[in-house]
């Protein structure tokens, strides 16, 4: 199988990140080792201040490490400039806690936006946006703006947007953190279904129960990985 020879989706070796908080250096990550293989569903669990958001920013190619090695989809992040990082982010599908949709755009336009950034032409992206919104169960909400959608529906749009450019993996930051528990269950089912279709997922959360829904849970504490268990 081809996948056997593919580089891991994410590979971190002794990853460190130090912030300057004013003049005081803060070691947010103090040597993280992590490998995410294709098809995995990994949850990163940890209290606030544990370094999980920092790890998310690094794995999302939003930020560069201070030390250590991080490769995303086989690319060493530390050698990239801002433009190359932006290109790398096109291969990552982001899903945020607060949905982060563009309020003035309809559901379809929001999904299309991701593809238009990649330079895909209008007709192709309209067709794909349609399909994706159908996949996430929003067939009849295509022309609604975020304000006209419930939290769960907005997060589905966000998931559709994240899937738009066929990413190597989805990176989720508390994807159900801002939705009521019943809807959260539905969104989680959707996420599991997507993972079942072969999409790699990395999900950051502080919710123990949610973390256990993943195939594998990494527990972070004080800037290092405290445990790494298959559920």
């Amino acid at each position: 199988m081809e996948e056997m020879f593919m580089a891991p989706v994410v590979e971190a070796i002794d990853l460190k990140k130090t912030y300057m908080l004013g003049k005081i250096p803060v070691e947010a990550l103090r040597g993280v080792n992590l490998k995410v293989e294709s098809g995995d569903f990994l949850s990163i669990l940890g209290p606030s201040g544990s370094g999980k958001s920092t790890l998310l920013n690094l794995v999302g190619a939003l930020d560069k490490p201070t030390a250590g090695k991080l490769s995303i989809d086989g690319v060493d992040v530390s050698t990239l400039n801002d433009n190359q990082l932006a290109d790398l982010r096109l291969r990552i599908g982001f899903v945020f806690q607060f949905f982060n949709l563009i309020p003035r755009f309809t559901a379809r336009d929001n999904v299309e936006l991701a593809m238009s950034i990649k330079g895909i032409n209008k007709s192709a992206r309209t067709k794909r946006a349609q399909e994706l919104l159908e996949t996430v169960g929003l067939k009849d909400r295509i022309n609604h703006k975020p304000a006209e959608l419930s939290g769960g529906q907005q997060q589905r749009v966000a998931i559709a947007r994240a899937l738009a450019n066929d990413p190597r993996f989805l990176l989720m930051d508390e994807p159900t953190g801002n939705i009521d528990s019943k809807t959260a269950r539905e969104v989680l089912n959707l996420i599991q279904r997507i993972n079942g279709d072969g999409v790699t997922i990395v999900m950051v959360t502080h919710d123990q129960r949610l973390a256990l829904e993943a195939k594998r849970t990494v527990q972070m504490f004080d800037g290092v990985i405290a445990s790494d268990l298959v559920n």
């Binding site: 920013n57 999302g60 939003l62 930020d63 801002d82 433009n83 932006a86 290109d87 982010r89 096109l90 982001f94 945020f96 982060n100 563009i102 003035r104 755009f105 936006l113 991701a114 238009s116 950034i117 990649k118 330079g119 032409n121 947007r161 994240a162 450019n165």
Partner: protein
């Protein structure tokens, strides 16, 4: 991201804040409209005046005035009416100098003297009087030199006038150009001139017969005949004013080329020991061109300041917009947008504002210019009908477009650059 997608994204951002965008655009509109209106009026005025000049001052004519400083301060109306005269302490220009000037160069066909004084005319009823310039000339020579403007509308210009015959300008006959006639051909009028070289001043008056009313010349009547002048035979003027001094001697040349004009001018000034000034139509024209380009530059500069203010408005609004959209920029960057695309989006917004502002500005500037021209044409504030046809050249249109867009882009550079430099991690955290 494709250019068309950048454009439609920018457009959607502008549409979101319609009032704000409209107000920002209004700044550009006002600036561009001011520039376009001022430039097209100035250009129209220049065309009008150059036109007048070409009609009034033939290119093959030199004007000799007393005094060594050409184009000095003037008294009374019109450039020819001593308008170019220098200091009065200089040697006088005698009427009979024309004989000597005629013999100075083979390039000179003829020359004739003009005597001009300020005075007023009263019609038969004597109730109304009109201030005018009394010009003493040889009618046949004057008609020959100014064959297009010294032309009778009613009556006829006598080539050998009797002593009391005069010719009056169109505005003397019809001062308001509204059909209420002050005098007609064949009327009698009283001409009054105040001799202020003696103490006490003496008012001299004589009754003259209007032989002809001139065709309307329009504008300022530069050089030759004017709508507001009256013309009396030279000999009568000498006798009436008690003088043998000419205010102007007009020299007719064989050719209007620059070499002839320059060499003849020099011969005349040399002959009179630099105590006279020689003015040519071409010199006046080039002077006017210089004056008008200075005026254009000055007015354009003032208008440009308002555009500069508009530019600062754009910058202000873009910075507000950038702060408001910090999170949006974070999202765009997180899902893979490059910094330079963010820069393009912001610059495109300013280009759209600049373009719309410039187009509306050019149109409203043109409307404004025509409105002002109409106002001036009807008498306007200066009370004299001035026919200006605003001129809008392609250069002005393109310049206004370029300037409007240019200013918008320049002032958007900083906010756009700041937007593009936002760190995605921080931008996403922004509430």
């Amino acid at each position: 991201m494709r250019t068309s997608d950048v454009f439609s994204y920018s457009f959607s951002a502008i549409k979101l804040r319609k009032l704000r965008a409209a107000l920002t655009t209004l700044g550009v509109v006002i600036g561009i409209a001011a520039i376009v209106a001022l430039l097209s009026i100035t250009q129209g005025l220049q065309t009008t005046i150059t036109d007048q000049l070409e009609r009034g001052l033939s290119a093959d004519t030199l004007i000799v005035v007393p005094g060594s400083s050409a184009l000095g301060g003037g008294e009374g109306g019109g450039f020819a009416g001593g308008g170019f005269g220098g200091s009065s302490s200089n040697a006088p220009l005698h009427i009979n100098y024309t004989d000597e000037i005629n013999n100075l160069s083979p390039d000179i066909i003829t020359s004739f003297a003009v005597v001009q004084k300020a005075g007023y005319v009263q019609n038969g009823s004597g109730v109304i009087r009109i201030v005018t310039t009394i010009t003493g000339v040889n009618f046949s020579q004057y008609a020959n030199a100014y064959s297009t403007t010294f032309v009778a509308a009613t009556g006829s210009i006598p080539l050998n006038p009797s002593n009391d015959e005069i010719v009056v300008g169109a505005r003397i006959s019809d001062p308001r150009f509204n059909g209420t006639l002050f005098v007609r051909a064949n009327d009698e009028v009283n001409i009054t001139w105040t001799n202020n070289t003696v103490i006490p001043f003496v008012n001299k008056t004589y009754t003259a017969h209007v032989a002809a009313v001139l065709d309307r010349i329009g504008g300022f009547g530069i050089g030759g005949p004017s709508d507001t002048g009256i013309y009396v035979p030279l000999t009568r003027a000498e006798e009436f004013f008690g003088t043998d001094e000419a205010d102007v001697i007009i020299v007719k040349l064989r050719s209007s080329d620059a070499a002839t004009i320059n060499s003849t001018s020099k011969i005349i000034t040399d002959y009179f020991g630099d105590q006279v000034s020689v003015i040519s139509a071409t010199a006046v024209q080039s002077l006017l061109t210089t004056i008008f380009s200075t005026i254009s530059l000055f007015l354009g500069g003032i208008a440009a300041i308002s555009l500069l203010v508009a530019g600062i408005g754009i910058m202000n609004i873009m910075i507000v917009s950038l702060i408001e959209r910090t999170r949006e920029i974070g999202i765009l960057k997180a899902i893979g947008m490059k910094s330079r695309t963010v820069l393009y989006i912001f610059l495109t917004e300013s280009v759209i504002i600049g373009l719309i502002g410039a187009v509306i500005g050019i149109l409203s500037g043109w409307v404004l210019a025509n409105g002002v021209a109409l106002f001036l044409g009807r008498g306007g504030v200066i009370g004299s009908a001035l026919t200006i046809t605003p001129v809008l050249t392609v250069e002005v249109i393109l310049g206004a477009l370029g300037f409007g867009i240019g200013i918008s882009v320049i002032f958007a550079l900083y906010p756009a650059w700041r937007a593009s430099k936002l760190k995605p991690v921080e931008a996403l955290r922004y509430e």
